[in-house]
Symmetry: C2
């Protein structure tokens, strides 16, 4: 369990199979984001139809609503959201530092204000680990301190150091939970209400590397994380948070030679199609991003020729599919003219159909890169060059 | 084509098969409403999964947006909304008299204000017929003057007389279109842009009986409609528009012995579960209503024990299905606790899942009544009594 097998490589890029309690994930892979325990506008059946193998859910959101105890009472996160394939929960760090009414951070943890009820709450490394344990995803993430993309060296150093101290506490807590040495919280009464009928929760914990765009910090952070324990995967955080795209690609490129080959590499919060391609070329295996669903709800669709907005009057009587190259239900069933009508008329089905297509687009993109990597002999660079040439074409596809 | 075969009867209730260009409809049947060319929050695949055989679309809505010419350019209504089973379009009469900024009615037609752009538009019997012909549903409805449910005799008489005069004009226009004697509008340039690749549109026109709650008017109206021509079906309009339910049931009960047995009977805009049961007992074959989808989007679900609102705090940790008796995706996949979470968290998936269940509920209700009628020998009254006893139980199911 929690094994990762690299299968083929092309330069820094590689394909692999990640084995988790709820199934296997072929990498490179894109994870749709189910913020509140649902990938917005899509059902689990939709996600399977477009080939999703793993979904991310947000610990912060599920903690504030409905609360991890409710999720546990309803059978754990997999049963709750009716997703029987692998799940990953983030740690809540990113949301606490970006979304929530932010209050105070110290070495113990973060005090913040819930965006739902305004109530004061505290997240510590231990609590974040316990909440994720209660949710029961296949992969939990360490609680991290995320600094803005443009943070200076001192700020990034501070966030990195805190994230490393917190990682030790997360790992200790996660180990204790895995060993069954404790059943619940440390800052509340011991939890006794986990239904005994549930099978043992099996979960691994992944560390998050911070360090901003500062190369030396990233390398030091990586070194210290690897010295801290034997991990089953590694996440790169603190990118795609406002820094220029070129800077993100550079950080990845410099970091890659130092990353241990056997560990799956997860680039958090990325991304757009061009980011997926660039990051796979730089050795990344796993991605998550709200872009396909958020853009889809805004009427923006990914196509091989770039993004198009379906509200465009040019599509009014367009009988063609949204993306002629795509095999999803949206593209094989409906005309652009009908999809435009759904958006202009504010119909819910439009939100769903464009979200479905965009998720399928990123999953197909990963599939295409896997195929190119497996071909070997420069097939990926050639594929990527061709892909970029077409994607950057102006026009409405 | 456009044949109706009565197969079994129990008192006034009967089962039958309606044969239409795009397939057959087993009656009694409930038609989900696709107001703007989409049944809100549901896809055609969803509708097939819950057993829908026929869908209604609103002529008024499609006329003001995107316009029937756009629908025709996109292959006609079936292709436009990707629904390859039977379709019925209403005439726009109901919407013009209720929804739109109403302006003026005279014998020629109705002048109204579009709810989309505020523009002045005119619908005449001929235009309503032409628009529906262009849309291309299997069944078109005659343009009618709908009076409020509490209208006095003079008002109801006036609406009935106008509806009868308009019916003659609709029928004449529909016959001309069917005969291919004209290609398009009478009040504008002749339409030449209908793609020649389209197969001949095959459509029948059904009359609408008005007359409010006035028995003599209903009987006279029916007589005059039947004398006017040889119809393939008959709609009862002007009910469920504000009058007491008991009054509606009484009108149906008195009318039924005079309705020709061989014609399918369509009760427009009905209804709620209790109305379906009462109307089937009074000989009605076809129904349409926005209630299942509108209520679904409000979190209200039909169950055998009556309606429940999924937002109720009692469902917070309820692991059971929304409706344990139901076989739909919602009820076989998700817990009430999860569905409640989706509504409390304003997630789009909730709107879809409750809409899906409610449509399935009404379609199952029709299936159950068909089965009871086929059993004969008082099975339907026994089934209906039992159903009503359980449905009127108080509580949250």
């Amino acid at each position: 369990m929690f094994e990762f097998q690299v299968e083929a490589a092309s330069g820094a890029a590689r394909t692999g199979t990640l084995t988790l309690p709820h199934g296997t994930v072929e990498t490179p892979a894109f994870m749709p984001v189910g913020t509140q325990g649902t990938v917005r506008a899509l059902s689990p059946a939709d996600l399977k139809a477009v080939g999703a193998t793993m979904v991310l859910a947000n610990t912060y959101h599920l903690h504030v609503r409905p609360g991890e105890d409710v999720v546990a009472r309803l059978g754990g996160l997999h049963r709750f959201m009716a997703w029987d394939r692998p799940l990953l929960t983030d740690s809540g760090g990113f949301q606490v530092f970006s979304l929530a009414g932010f209050r105070r951070v110290d070495d113990d943890g973060v005090e913040f204000q819930s965006h739902v009820d305004g109530g004061r709450r505290t997240l510590t490394p231990e609590r974040a680990t316990e909440i994720q344990w209660t949710l029961g995803a296949d992969i939990a993430m360490a609680f991290d301190h995320v600094a803005p993309g443009a943070a200076d060296l001192a700020t990034s150093r501070d966030a990195l150091e805190r994230t490393l101290r917190w990682l030790e506490r997360c790992a200790r807590r996660h180990q204790a939970l895995s060993d069954g040495r404790t059943g619940g919280r440390t800052d509340g009464p011991a939890s006794t209400d986990r239904p005994s009928a549930l099978p043992p929760i099996r979960q691994t914990l992944w560390p998050i590397l911070q360090g901003g765009t500062h190369r030396a910090l990233r390398e030091e952070g990586l070194q210290r994380i690897l010295e801290m324990g034997s991990w089953t995967g590694l996440a790169v955080g603190g990118l795609s948070v406002g820094e220029p795209k070129a800077k993100m690609y550079e950080v990845l490129e410099r970091l890659e030679p130092r990353l241990p080959g056997p560990l799956p590499r997860y680039l958090m919060g990325v991304g757009f199609p061009e980011d997926l391609v660039a990051a796979v070329e730089r050795g990344v295996d796993l991605f998550d991003c709200v872009a396909p669903t958020r853009n889809g709800r805004n009427g923006s669709a990914f196509t091989p020729q770039g993004q198009l907005n379906i509200r465009n009057a040019a599509f009014r009587t367009d009988e063609g599919p949204l993306d002629p190259a795509c095999d999803c239900e949206t593209c094989t069933t409906y005309s652009r003219g009908y999809l435009r009508h759904l958006f202009v008329a504010d119909e819910l089905l439009g939100l769903r159909l464009l979200s479905l297509h965009n998720v399928r687009y990123l999953i197909r993109l990963a599939e295409q890169m896997r195929a190119a990597i497996r071909k070997g002999d420069g097939a990926l660079p050639a594929w990527a060059d061709d892909w970029r040439r077409r994607y950057s074409q102006p026009g409405i596809a």
